[in-house]
């Protein structure tokens, strides 16, 4: 057991730190934020730190998993912007195209993802299809040089802003096995017959949407992987959506926020820092977050040794779901009346940040597969219990 970095990794960490020192100002004025992020993205792209582990010949950094962890960790500690803004493109569309795409697809799509040119969105869920994704019904017919898509997708995050969609459709419903006959298509959002209707969520923002397909033509060359084998493409693409160590840094930041809040408030006229139940609750959150960090390191070690890691990632996803709900709610409950005041209210603290978090947890808790489904994964795939 050791937590030391190799000489090469130490050099790399120093390079990252120096880069941050040079390029990350102490404070960015609100009005300059957009420009700063654009500039930042250009610079990290030049460094080849966007898509850091992607193969060099595909425009990535060709770097190791360990160095990517170092990179993301240093960025998280310094609270810099991310590495590129094409979230879904970088997380699973790109890796899917690297693994299953044709040379032409790799050349057409990967550079734009790396350059943060626009957003991708993900068309998996449907009105009647959620957790049981493999039962999806949105149809596509093979018409020779193109597919003709008819049906509806639902909860498609970023659809109102995205340029492209990775879409799952059913091309063959004859098979008994629901996992067969699914095909993965890459669809331009401006395609004729494609309509996006934003849905407002309970926090008031409209980031996800319904997407309707009426005789939408998708050219053959935009099929990702073989026809009928789209399930495999999806599963391995989603495997990239790992609860990574760097993600824990985000929770650590929220914990810091919570501690800072505790230091500012009073309960019945006494500092909250002296309240034993507050102290213990916060220590309880800290304990879970530390266990996530170390779980992540243990699984990373396995990966570095070439051992497969798959269902174990549900462990941290479950912790994350619990923490997102409980930490957000705890901050609000500690603040009493002040806690429920939103952004523009004169009585709000920190621009209603906590009030927002107390309601926005479904982004994480429902968006990436619900806790019940994570528990099914653990009990069936790891513990070997029968499927329900």
């Amino acid at each position: 057991m050791d937590f030391d970095l190799s000489p090469d990794e130490l050099v790399f960490r120093q390079e990252v730190r120096d880069f941050i020192k040079t390029n990350m100002p102490d404070k960015v004025a609100k009005k300059d934020e957009m420009a700063f992020v654009t500039e930042w993205n250009k610079k990290v792209r030049e460094k080849r730190w966007v898509g850091y582990t992607w193969p060099k010949e595909m425009g990535g950094g060709g770097g190791s998993l360990m160095k990517q962890v170092i990179l993301k960790q240093e960025m998280a500690i310094a609270k810099t912007p991310g590495l590129g803004t094409c979230f879904m493109g970088l997380s699973w569309v790109g890796p899917g195209i690297i693994q299953y795409g044709t040379k032409d697809q790799q050349e057409r799509f990967l550079p734009d993802i790396l350059d943060s040119k626009f957003q991708w969105c993900t068309g998996y869920s449907e009105p009647n299809i959620g957790s049981d994704l493999a039962s999806l019904q949105c149809k596509a017919e093979n018409k020779g040089d193109h597919y003709l898509v008819n049906g509806q997708k639902m909860w498609t995050s970023l659809a109102p802003f995205a340029e492209w969609m990775i879409l799952l459709v059913r091309t063959d419903s004859s098979s008994e096995n629901k996992h067969e006959g699914i095909t993965c298509l890459l669809v331009h959002m401006k395609s004729p017959g494609l309509e996006v209707r934003p849905i407002k969520n309970m926090t008031g923002s409209a980031v996800f949407a319904e997407v309707f397909f009426t005789d939408v033509k998708v050219p053959q060359e935009n099929r990702l992987g073989e026809e009928g084998k789209g399930w495999m493409v999806t599963v391995s693409a989603l495997a990239n959506e790992r609860s990574s160590i760097a993600e824990v840094a985000g929770l650590e930041r929220k914990l810091e926020d919570l501690k800072a809040l505790v230091k500012r408030i009073e309960i019945q006229g006494k500092p909250a820092t002296q309240d034993q139940s507050v102290r213990r609750t916060v220590a309880g959150f800290e304990t879970i977050i530390e266990s996530m960090r170390l779980n992540g390191m243990r699984y990373l070690t396995k990966q570095l040794k070439g051992e497969p890691v798959s269902s174990e990632t549900s462990v941290n996803k479950l912790h994350k779901a619990t923490l997102e709900v409980e930490m957000g709610d705890y901050a609000v409950s500690l603040m009493g009346h002040v806690g429920i005041h939103s952004r523009n209210s004169p009585d709000a603290l920190d621009k209603g940040r906590y009030a927002y978090r107390a309601l926005s947890w479904p982004d994480v808790v429902i968006g990436g597969g619900t806790p019940n489904i994570q528990k099914n994964i653990i009990s069936e795939r790891i513990l070997g219990l029968p499927k329900d």
């Binding site: 501690k259 102290r279 170390l294 390191m297 462990v315």
Partner: protein, 384 residues
């Protein structure tokens, strides 16, 4: 970066597991637990032969010269089998000697401990039942009486009082005793007390976990010569904290193994027990609590491993990491013990069925070296 074990450590794990599977299955555990000694001298001797009693003892004192990362492999496996033995106490006494002992003290005890001839334990707690120095009230009187009789080896102390909840006290040949010397009562003093010293008596007590033994150490005018003082002043408080933290790591490592066995037993039962026409493990009311157990075990396993690593480092990270591990494990293990019984139904409540042994261990483990609240308070003290 490698947050995993070396091949040698994995080999050690294999060896310990095979040894315990062969020599000490749960049928044997029950027999040993009912015996008077509460542990098997024969198995202890065999472990000594294999070198496992001197894992953390440096080579120049006859040990293997390895660290806590190696030791927790053994502890995790001993927990997996609910192996009844004084191995944790033994190792805490070794660490006390290593971190605070004089050369002469080390030479007296360590080689004999590594070879299995002598055992030690730590006697810290009193009826106060606190895991902090404030809980220590036992008085050490400067040895005036002896001086008057002209025995000049003096400046030691005479101890009269009781230490409670002393793990493995009956099996030990010496005790690391914490007390307050009357010439510096604001500090703690740690000393080695030989079990053969005059005035020493042990009284066995009984908890519901018979795989773990403890008792009262009763001291009546027990003389502690100066050369048996282990440490004094702030250094003694530091040693005391380290022992508390290492104890927490050790029982958490055992809890990892024990909880995994409880999860295995319960999972296997859920696959076999048929109700409403299907294995109960198909129902989410059963499979989801099992998934929760898995999540908890994975998590306090990571925390225990990290704390063991910290125990071998000198960077001071042991204190926080030990507390985080124990804060997580104490309550989680009890939940696992409880759910294991519940998911079995009535059979789980019987004496004959093994799962009951695990809830007992979980409730034994909870207060040992501080419960969840105690450690949460230590964690919070680092922030607020």
């Amino acid at each position: 970066m490698n947050f995993g074990f070396t091949e040698e450590q994995e080999l050690l794990r294999e060896q310990v597991r095979r040894f315990l599977d062969n020599k000490c299955p749960l049928t044997e555990v029950r027999k040993i637990a009912e015996s008077k000694a509460g542990f098997s001298q024969d198995l202890w001797n065999e472990m000594a032969e294999l070198g496992w009693l001197g894992i953390t003892v440096p080579e120049n004192y006859g040990g293997l010269g390895m660290g806590w990362v190696d030791l927790i492999v053994v502890l995790e496996e001993s927990g997996r089998s609910l192996f009844p033995s004084p191995i944790i106490s033994h190792n805490l006494a070794i660490d006390a000697l290593l971190s605070a002992g004089t050369e002469q003290q080390k030479e007296t005890w360590l080689p004999a401990m590594a070879s299995g001839q002598k055992r030690g334990c730590i006697a810290i707690n009193e009826k106060t039942n606190w895991h902090t120095p404030e809980g220590i009230r036992l008085q050490g009187l400067q040895e005036r009486g002896l001086q008057e009789k002209g025995k000049q080896r003096s400046n030691g102390y005479s101890l009269t009082g009781e230490k409670h909840f002393v793990s493995d006290v009956d099996a030990a040949d010496f005790y690391i005793v914490a007390f307050r010397a009357d010439d510096k009562p604001e500090d703690i003093t740690l000393a080695i007390v030989d079990s053969s010293a005059s005035g020493v008596k042990t009284i066995m007590t009984e908890t519901f976990d018979k795989t773990k033994r403890e008792g009262i150490l009763s001291l009546s005018d027990v003389v502690v010569p100066k050369d048996q003082i282990l440490s004094e002043g702030p250094a003694a408080t530091e040693t005391l904290s380290r022992l508390l933290e290492l104890g927490a790591v050790a029982v958490t490592a055992e809890a990892v193994g024990a909880a995994e066995t409880a999860l295995n037993i319960t999972t296997e039962y859920a696959k076999e027990r048929i109700q409403f026409g299907a294995p109960i493990g198909r129902y989410q009311g059963v499979k989801h609590p099992l998934a929760d157990m898995y999540v908890d075990i994975e998590s306090f396993k990571s925390l225990a491993y990290y704390a063991a690593w910290a125990a071998d480092e000198v960077d001071g990270s042991l204190s926080r990491s030990a507390s985080i591990a124990k804060a997580y494990a104490s309550d989680a293990f009890v939940r696992i013990g409880t759910d294991s019984i519940q998911l079995h139904g009535a059979i789980g409540y019987t004496d004959e069925y093994d799962i009951q042994l695990f809830i007992k261990r979980s409730k034994w483990m909870r207060p040992a070296f501080g419960d969840t609240h105690f450690h949460q308070d230590r964690i919070a003290a680092l922030s607020f």
